[in-house]
Amino acid sequence: MNRFTLIWRNLWRKPIRTVFTMLAVLVVFFLFTVLEGLRIALSLSDVGIEAQERLLTSHKVSLIMMLPAAYQSRIARLPGVAAVSHGTWFGGRYQDNPEFAQYPVVAEEYLALNPEIKLSSAQRQAWLANRGGAIVGRPVASQYGWEVGDRVPLRSSIWTRNNGSNVWEFDIEGIFDDTDAGMNAGVVLFHYDYFDEARAFGKGTVGWYVSKGDGSMPIENLMASIDAEFENSPAETKTNTEAAFAQEYAQQFGNIGLIVTLILSAVVFMILLVTGHTMAQSVRERIHEMGVLKTLGFTSGSIFRLTVLEGLLLILPVGILAMALGRAALAFVSGAMGAMFPAGLHVGTQSVVLGLALMLAVSLGSVLPPVIRALKLDIVALLRTA
């Protein structure tokens, strides 16, 4: 009988207790992983590098106000600007699903500015050739079951067509992957010319400008110079990086996310406390036995190692399994709700490390104090405890 057998037998001496402790740990770390994924997605803090370098210029009063299309050439002329394009919120929904992102854009310009949009060149050519064509981010296409060649109707809550209808139809010419998890991840892109001609009002305006610097000046100066260009004009602007814009938008849902996080930390803490207490109790119940082991010649050190290893064995494998299950659940949800979570639901290294640290804290925190206290006693005192 080697050491491991001893640990294993000890672990299962009260099988019911062990099973329930493991199940509680499974639930807690599953919840922990899922909630971390949600928290990260809701904070929109996970955007990639492209979004940190691109600038977004919107109307200063609020995002709902439109900017003149003529601003494009004025931004393009500013020193330090390498490229500029624009987008507009379309506010469409497919059937009875919730509203998601679609932008009318100038195709070649927009694709050049957003290299994270990976589209095959055949699909790209097809889209450029079709005025009523659109390309779709993969998460949305898979949620709604759209394929290249489909004609899909989108009902806009904002834009009416010349004929008075709110329903716009587009031919899906391409499905793209997005490597940046930014504002293009789950979007429908279609041609601005087609949109501008067909809309009943607001012609000649756009929602926002996207631009990129040529690296000749710091990004802060570039943002200031764009806003200065339109100061005192009828439509003043506010420029920020795309990443900062996304985060500011997420802040608007703000304190709710924070409250949920607080409540749930309290819960995870409490349930871990419960589990920890049970583990500590099972160590205390065994103090007598430690005396027996010592009599048999086990050193304090080896009893210590046996007990600590048993504590880790109880928590870690189940905890890690729970986190894996949590990730699988997140992947499933983001697949089924691609339009809502286009960037997907992920937990990063940080969350995994935090989860592992919690597991270590609960197993060591509950096992160490009683073991250390017990091993300070001599054999006679140990054996005397019932």
């Binding site: 207790r17 199940l23 509680a24 809550s157 005192n232 802040q251 608007q252 409250i259 349930i271 406390l273």
Partner: protein
Amino acid sequence: MFGWLTQTAALAALNLRSLPRRPGAAAVAMSGIAALTGVFAGVLSMASGFEKTMEGSGQEDVALVLRSGSTAELNSRFSSEQADVIRYAPGIVRDAAGEPRVSSELFWIVNAVGKSSGTEANVALRGIQPAGYALRKGYRLAEGREFTPGRFELIAGRGARNQFAGLEPGQMIRFGKTEWLVTGVFEAGGSVFESELWCDVNVLQSAYQLGSGFQVVRAQVDGAAGRARLEEALDGDQRLAVDVWSEEQFYSEQAEDTTALIRVIGIPISVLMAIGAIFATLNAMYASIAARARELATLRALGFGSLPAALATLLESVALALLGGVLGCAIAWLALNGFQASTLASSFSQVVFNFAVTPDLLAQGVTAALVVGLVGGVFPAVRAAMAPVTVALREL
């Protein structure tokens, strides 16, 4: 024949009286259940608070006219001529002077800085006409004075004033190129309007070059019959393409998206937590029985039956769950009831609301706790009843 009943009572009393002497196990079972009910009540109080604010906003006898197909005021638009056609349509209540009780309004969004977040948020700036005040139930000026028509002045809803910076009466606040004087603070019965800023609609049109049009017409109607007459008249008018809403229905539909999201996230989490709490309770109860195995065996050797032993154990578990449930609810109520928060609603503007830990939620929370206590106690109870007396007595 009542033997087992008295036995159960005696054992249960013994169990409960000895609880303070084993505080660890009791506290552990209770705190797990308290966490469960606390979160359950806490998360759902957010949904119920938001719902209460939204649903308290609409009135049955107020009709909302929006451009056909618009599901939010923000997306609606019509010309001043169209607004005039609606104003004098049948079905609308008129005042003593014969003027229709109508307010043609603009619903605009401006950026204000949130006090707690420090970042910009979308706040609704609503342009109203004089009849607009009376169309809101419970409207009351709480501080300062109302805005003067024709001036760049506004009044702030109480919720907006609390959540966003720079909205104290007497302060100037700049939205884009225009600077506004905050003249007062109003209340509107805790409704969504308290999240808004109100100004003169004509001033708003000129401030942001919005033309002479409007986005929404609010009209007092003579109940559902009056609304139906209004709807019929507007449907038949070639100059218009509009939808007529009952204000009550409009706001309850607006509430749905947000509350559905909170519930879709909150309920599965609560269920998972309940499962976690059941395991924790099971463990605590098994431990409590294991610790008292000899005591229980002794009692049974003295003549107490298996059924009373089982029932007493179950009662202990339920009593602990009840205590935990009440504790969790009390914490949720003390910490969260009335807590003010704001979120971006489907109107694309911030809605300020108070968490509402309602009696309903408290009852549901305690019920959930009892279920956990029952499920978590039943197996240990069986164990307590089945353990062979001789073995248990011999155990150390």
